[in-house]
Amino acid sequence: MSEESNARSGHRNRAGAGAQEQAVHIGKSKFVGFKYFLWILPFLILVFLFSYFPLHGWIYSFYDYRPPRSLSQCEFVGLQWFKMLISNPTQVSQLLQVLKNTFAMSLLGIATSILPLFFAVFLNEIKCRKFKSFVQTFTTLPNFISWVLVFSVAFALFSANGMVNTFLQQIGFIDSPIRFLDSDSHTYLKMLLWNMWKSLGWGSIIYLASIAGIDQELYEAASIDGAGRFQKMFYITIPELLPTFFVMLMMAVSNFLNNGMDQYFVFQNSFNKEHIQVLDLYVYNIGMTGSSYSLATAISMLKSIVSIALLSLCNVVSKVTRGETIV
């Protein structure tokens, strides 16, 4: 604040003396503008190299690319990979399973995306400030550890000789360890729960911030009208949070195909592979470790195009319903 006022008074005092220089500046402005551009040019080159230039890789999906050879030595196959995706029976069934997994995980994510809102609303009802900030601090913590560490935690607690199995055996609840990690039962549910453990607290922060911005007069007016605690929660707090929820929902929808591979890669093993492979992981599995660079590129290219379409769609929906775009 004080810096600002200093600068202001400086402005006033020196305004006369600086007028001449300013005129020179305006005269030079075209040159200066280009100089500014040159200063950010290195960064623009980085942007080009790592975001635009990689797009040239999409042409690999029209070739039969075999890594040691260069692209020019490889056969141009046109739309062969794309045709294979819809005509080869094993490929089709594999892809359908992968799409099913992707849709299931995304839908579960969207279905539970209201939970952070309730988390924030209920946390806001806690009056002990120390407890509140304690909860907030420690429930956001898991968001800041990597999925590798989450898996490490999962392994320490849920492996065959992990804490949970040992404990259940000690109290005589089970005879042989339950295979929490190396089995394919309830894979979707397990992934959802891990994801919630990691991100529920963090997801609520944006709603807590919105709650802090709600006009207190609304509550006061409601109190005078005799509204109780729950009525205020359901008729003031939650409606006030819905616009934020809507934005988050639209973002989730536009990222429908982008589950990422972080989480699924670490939890993946030969037992649960069938149900854990989402699109991103599938692309990695067939591209980097498996058979075909070109097929993987074809799939990820289709994925990108559908994603951009989804994003545009969500943008239109948002514009129509709220009058504001999300991007």
Binding site: I126, A156, A222
Partner: protein
């Protein structure tokens, strides 16, 4: 802070405690308490197990308090192959990555507010648009290979320098500052760089702190770069090394199970390392920096997300 005090009385403050209210409150405290415990306990469990007697730990007897405290597990890490270099790589990429990202974000955010820049709006869109598309895994890999960046340290740094979302945050923040601040300095003859260093950078500290923390946590936690671009063991990051340890531990544990020996308790001494103890100790070492800096910087996260949410 002052705003928070008002929030203490979320429902106006003058309501009477009804029975339903009280029941609700009890459940509310209880459920939040349990969820918070679920969030903390795994970290606590790993920490106490790494300092407890490995014999008791393997038998599953260390659940609430450490027993037979020793630090052999941590000493054993010293002799672990590759851990030292992985730690160096992780620290190096976190420090260098964070500094470059923060400086680039601040500089670009600032430069994009300079209206005189040639085709400013076009270049701004050129940068911002990259948030919304992605070439995909294989094209990225091929690009890195073409540029000769695979198996180099720079593959961790260069692609992360320009982060459009953070640039938007900083640009919005600078635009919200009073214009007179920069104008005055300009009239005093300060060039664009001096204005950046001496005026803009100092007032942007809060938002840059947020950017720094996210960049640092992102760098520290990322294992995918190693997975995809690195095959040279000297350039492994801690996270990736931990991943390989866990996988080894799981195959070892599976082997033990297959041969019919129940657990590892039969043969191990209290201080002898087991695959599980090593894996947990490395995990603790990897998570400790986050646990240490996290409480200090939590308010910045909150502030950052608030600024971000205002933007929409």
């Amino acid at each position: 802070m002052r705003k928070d005090k008002k929030q203490d009385l979320p429902s106006g403050g003058n309501y009477k405690l009804k029975a339903s209210d009280r029941v609700f409150s009890v459940f509310n405290y209880l459920i939040f308490g349990i969820f918070t415990l679920i969030c903390i306990y795994p970290f606590y469990y790993m920490i106490i197990n790494t300092i407890s007697s490995n014999e008791l730990s393997a038998a599953g007897l260390v659940n609430f308090l450490p027993k037979g405290i020793h630090f052999e597990n941590y000493k054993a890490l010293m002799s672990l192959n590759g851990l030292g270099s992985a730690a160096l790589v992780s620290i190096g990429k976190t420090v260098i990555g964070t500094v470059t990202t923060v400086l680039a974000t601040a500089f670009l955010g600032y430069m994009f507010t300079q209206e005189r820049m040639w085709k400013r709006k076009f270049w701004y869109r050129f940068v911002v648009v990259i948030m919304y598309f992605n070439a995909g895994l294989i094209p990225m890999f091929i690009t890195m290979k073409t540029l000769g960046l695979t198996n180099t340290f720079w593959v961790y740094i260069l692609p992360c320098i320009v982060q459009p979302f953070n640039i938007i945050l900083v640009k919005t923040y600078i635009e919200s500052l009073p214009k007179s601040l920069q104008e005055a300095a300009e009239i005093d003859g300060a060039g664009v760089f001096r204005r950046f260093w001496q005026i803009v950078l100092p007032v942007c500290t809060p938002i840059l702190a947020t950017v720094a923390i996210f960049a640092a946590v992102g760098q520290w936690n990322n294992y995918q770069d190693t997975l995809i671009y690195i095959t040279d063991q000297k350039l492994y990051s801690l996270q990736y090394l931990l991943y390989t340890y866990i996988n080894q531990a799981s195959s070892l544990a599976a082997m033990v199970k297959n041969t019919g020996i129940q657990g590892l308790n039969a043969a191990t001494l209290a201080t002898q390392q087991t695959p599980t103890s090593i894996q947990m100790t490395v995990s603790v070492v990897v998570v400790l920096p986050i646990l240490c800096i996290y409480p200090m910087f939590q308010r910045f996260f909150v502030k950052g997300i608030m600024i971000g949410s205002v933007k929409g």
